[in-house]
Subunit: 712 residues, 2 copies
């Protein structure tokens, strides 16, 4: 189903988003090697203890590499993973300078010259193994295997519970570490194979003891120093990972990395990327736009991450090991507050078989945990952010007919996740008050709005399955957003348990993640969060004209009486593209009779808030969500309501794009522009028929066909 | 093989050792319900946060019960386990007063009247389930399931990683907690079944939220409050445990506790105890001695603890789950620095099938961990104390021909555990210096002495298996003790790396657990630690006469210029029966021509340092080791060298004892006393033949026969 012959990896620049420059922001992306939805993200760590501001382990502004570690997150605000650091040296150094001149990256491949000693490091990956090739300037070398290297142990109570490193053959070592941090508990097992014999391994235990020529060591801060004699001055290293056992790490390694031909692994990774990236074929477009587009698409595909082994085993949130059915895969890294908006809807179009697997992974989590994940990290929920936005993902997948999802099981999961109280989801309060009273549940306005949306999703699936009583119950809850609308100020605002507005109220004041009614935003940004009932919101606002006026104000009001927090960035007036609550707002003009303003604003965001530098995002990429917005918008549409089964039409960035869809269907989007830069839609047709309402049904895309834009 | 018909449980008093009185010490035992080597120890917790001085959770001096929890340690100095607290209430209280007048305990059964509300609590157990029966003064009641209750979170960095509590049926709940503490990581799963319907369950998350009528909760400090309507005013609760999964907890529960008849479980537990206790039949003896004897024997049998599930699954030290072969069991709780001395040798005589299983459990640990355990707690090594005293246990078991142990595998384990450096076992230093230099390895004198002994054990097995080179290597290491003998002071003392004695030296000064050359003792107490080469020690001391004189001084020198630490107790001169390094010393007179002094001293220790109060031990029972010394000594012998295959004869406490041994063999020990209290041996015969050397070969016991003492 992909475009044969084209190399899409050539137009991906993995350095985009990897470091803030010129007062801009970092996307917290990383440039290292991974395959689509892989378990391994093998990438350089330019900070000895990655944390908030270098969460992926890499910052383009740095000039030192400390090691290459095997796992990480792309675009998150918080850091975690960062497992099994490997560093090559000839003289015993533990870090090296590097420069971007001698550094390259493309999907599935990264290389850098470690200039202190002149060691060329090259990285590639399979799904569950990292492949390293080091070329040394000498015929003896040392490799450090650092099991202590991790994200900052000062954050999230992070501590290594225990680790092990052992030599198991002339060319193999294995081990694990168990660590608690942002993910409550992670077991990371590995087996490493070397292309040459290990001449010896010393292990430092981090507590002052070095075990010389050790066969095995157990401890909390292990660092192995492996010596090699290298007549060819080159060493290839394969590191298989598993979240369940050393045996499974070995099986993963043997299944995915049976040989030592680095270039074959690299070619294979490239092929897999072309297979995925090629499902969208931009046939006519500006080269810069094309580069931004495919890099964004790439960033949507580096997570969620494979979590189960080749054997099907995976670590459950009940701290046991379970097995997925034959042929299935368990995934993790679901940053759902972000990705339910654009990334998952995008997957339903381009990668539906994967989205179905993501949904089934969430359903398995539900079975063990009792409710769906909020932020799923290495198999555990870290409860980051608010709402229960696995619900729109699950409902959307079922209603779009994605394969192999049991609708009744999916329904049970979304229903129970909406009834069983859990952190930030006190459903007893919800139904008692019809809103979240701030004194009982902080972030109450944001939660009320987002929860009402999730309830609408549950209601929609209930109706689909003929569950009338539930449909009515959840439909009623979906309207609770109205209970926090204050006609006097014209905003959603917080109430106490008695139903009294909480004073003082300032719609410009921002909250962060608790202690305030708004989450990572203010009343202006949250005003628009009724994606399931925009007409209702328009009515509350006083009709279309008032709604348009309020939108205009939103995009122009630049008062900064309250200091912005880190999450408020990429601003156009009060619009903050750097964080997700704003993401659908530009498309709301469509609903109020001013689609051209949607087109203007979307084009402005695409053109001014994305660029091809390391600071190319207006904020954290958030596991590909910032990227997904760009991919959708560039195609010419975006889902204001991600579980509605339809997309809201904006303005296409390219003159011709072909989506190569499952089942051999193609969906083509073309743009006839009156002038070169024209972006205002004068007419849009679907398979020749005019589209009057600026809405594109999912069904119209997946059955294949053509959408033609006339732009002036 | 047991004595039919007699109820040995009637002469066990589980309160012995449960609390310090009158300036004495607590054995840190507990009075609750368990079965031999069970996974569950269901017992009252009289302290809200058990720690060092109430390590088992119970102190006889307390008057409040906070809950009944399912796991604990017997006689340790440090606290851990203490899982899943259950507390019954009618009015909502969270603790209750109690008095010993309304408290009873016998092996496998405990009951107490919770006097605040008049609730009768009764406890019994199967191997993997705790059975509770509560009789209430009202027909509605509440049960608190406390997943937060644990040993002190201020010790060992203890913290709950995560826990879960869920309702799974009208009469069932289940859940788990994952906790790090003295054991690096423990996963404790449970399934509980109630004899009546649950009317409702609220769950407090410990962070200020109560989930009302909850189906499930996940959190770090969960407390479930279950409401019941009880027309019969009685509730029976069965709680199945597992260290691997909720499924296995359910299987354990269903296999071991299929019904709700509390009395049948109690009778079954009693039968199992009689089966075990009855392997020793004291047919003539003073009632107090008999009570002390069977209580001591009981205390040797409450650990090691079953760790694998009915299914054979167990949690490995590599944080995975493995399976024991069909019919086998994995055990944990190996306090080896203590129990290799007396408890394991006792098991080799009376319970060889269990000791073989203990050894195989250690060998499995070795496979995953790379060396044998030092202190094995819930499947993990906590490295408590020094030496590698799994080695004498393994070697002794192989050489005594215990069933189903692979000698070559056992040899590999003891050899590698003696070559692979690990904490407190820097074997590279060992062979480089021929002793532990204190600046490189603290506790150097104690480690040097104990390691030399372990090496002797390895050498002995090497010789047995025809490994001549290894035999010579380890035999040489076994003599390293000599390198720290200082003829000038007449003591073993610490050297630096240059071989210089470290000054100042005071043989009375005590060390604790690091920072000093002696471990929980002084140079006087460690002087005698050459169990494998007493003749060599006698020679170093200057001959038998000098040796006798030194022993006499040891047992009389009461200088206390250095403050004793907690481990030095039960003193007779410098002899400190409250801790293990002294335990063999009374038997050393045998080696120097004064067996009557052994007899005098052993009888004095039995008669003055054990009693039937809650303060009946001279120090921590140390997982039954203080008890094992008593059991052996009361029988009339004790293993100075626990892996030598022979026992050193002291003086029998009873007039007739029959050991009912595997294979239907009986070994009878009789005493003809000239006068009532006579304890000096004038003659001892084995199967009619005089024993001249006061040595009893293991083989003579297990083949059955008779040992007759004539005492004057």
């Amino acid at each position: 189903m992909c475009a044969q012959g084209r190399d899409f990896t050539a137009v991906v620049d993995p350095f985009i988003g990897c470091g803030a420059i010129e007062g801009g922001l970092s996307g917290n992306n990383y440039p290292g090697a991974t395959v689509p939805f892989g378990m391994v993200q093998l990438s350089p760590d330019t900070h000895p203890v990655p944390d908030w501001y270098n969460a992926s382990g890499y910052d383009y502004n740095d000039s030192t590499i400390y090691c290459f570690s095997h796992t990480r997150l792309s675009g998150t605000g918080a850091s975690d993973l960062i497992d099994i650091g490997v560093f090559p040296t000839v003289t015993g150094k533990t870090s090296s300078g590097f420069s971007h001149d001698a550094e390259t990256a493309s999907p599935g491949y990264y290389s850098v010259m470690l200039k202190d000693e002149g060691i060329l490091a090259e990285l590639t990956a399979t799904t569950r193994t990292g492949i390293h090739r080091y070329t040394f300037p000498a015929d003896t070398a040392t490799l450090i295997f650092d099991l202590d290297h991790s994200a900052n142990k000062g954050s999230w109570g992070r501590q290594i519970i225990q680790s092990q490193l052992r030599r198991t053959g002339p060319r193999t070592i294995e081990g694990f570490r168990v660590i608690t941090g942002w993910a409550k508990l992670r077991k990371v097992y590995f087996v490493a194979e070397f292309s040459e014999d290990i001449a010896g391994m010393d292990i430092a235990d981090g507590a002052g003891t070095v075990f010389r020529d050790a066969a095995v060591a157990n401890g909390k801060a292990l660092k192995g120093t492996l010596r090699f004699r290298l007549p060819e001055r080159q060493l290839t290293v394969k590191v298989g990972l598993s979240g369940t056992s050393v045996d499974n790490a070995r099986r993963n390694l043997r299944a995915e990395a049976p040989h030592f031909d680095f270039d074959r692994y690299r070619a294979s990774a490239k092929e897999r990327w072309n297979d995925m990236l090629g499902r969208v074929e931009v046939t006519k477009g500006d080269p810069l736009d094309v580069r931004l587009f495919y890099t964004a698409l790439y960033h949507t595909l580096v997570q969620p991450n494979t979590f189960s082994d080749i054997s099907g085993h995976y670590a459950t949130p009940a701290y046991s090991v379970a097995t997925v059915p034959e042929g299935e895969t368990q995934y993790t890294t679901f940053s759902l507050w972000d990705t339910y908006r654009g990334a998952h809807p995008l997957y339903t179009i381009l990668y539906p078989e994967f989205d179905a697997a993501f949904v089934n992974s969430m359903l398995r989590h539900y079975r063990d945990y009792g409710y769906l994940p909020i932020w799923h990290l290495w198999g555990h929920d870290n409860y980051c952010m608010i709402g229960n936005h696995a619900i729109p993902v699950v409902v959307d997948a079922v209603l779009k007919g994605l394969p192999d999802i049991d609708p009744e099981e999916a329904y049970e999961a979304v229903r129970e996740s909406s009834l069983r109280p859990h952190p930030n989801s006190p459903f007893d309060i919800w139904e008692r008050y019809g809103y979240m009273p701030e004194p009982l549940q902080t972030q109450s306005v944001s939660i009320t709005l987002e929860m009402a949306y999730d309830d609408w999703c549950v209601a929609r699936l209930a109706r689909h399955l003929g569950k009338t009583e539930d449909y009515e119950r959840f439909s009623a809850r979906a309207q609770y957003y109205r209970n926090l609308h204050d006609p006097a100020t014209g905003f959603f605002r917080a109430k106490d348990e008695e139903g009294r507005w909480i004073e003082p109220f300032d719609p410009l004041r921002h909250g962060a993640n608790g202690g305030f009614p708004f989450t990572e935003g203010n009343a202006w940004q949250y005003y628009w969060y009724v994606p399931h009932d925009v007409p209702g919101l328009i009515e509350l606002t006083g009709g279309e004209k008032a709604f348009r006026k309020k939108l205009d104000t939103f995009f122009t009001l630049t008062d900064t009486s309250w200091e912005k927090n880190d999450n408020i960035s990429g601003c156009i007036g009060q619009y903050a593209h750097g964080n997700e609550p704003s993401h659908h707002v530009a498309y709301l003009y469509n609903y109020a009779g001013e689609p051209q303003k949607t087109q203007d604003m979307v084009m402005r965001i695409m053109k001014t808030l994305y660029n091809d530098t390391s600071s190319g995002y207006a904020g954290n990429d958030d596991c590909g969500e910032m990227s997904a917005w760009y991919v959708f918008s560039a195609l010419g549409f975006y889902p204001v309501n991600p579980a509605s089964g339809r997309y809201d039409i904006g303005t296409p960035l390219f003159d011709e794009v072909v989506l190569h869809l499952p089942g051999g269907k193609d969906f083509t989007i073309t743009a006839d522009r009156k002038t070169g830069g024209a972006h205002r839609v004068s007419r849009v047709t679907l398979d020749g028929k005019p589209v009057a309402d600026y809405r594109l049904p999912h069904e119209a895309i997946v059955r294949g066909g053509e959408m033609r834009f006339s732009l002036k």
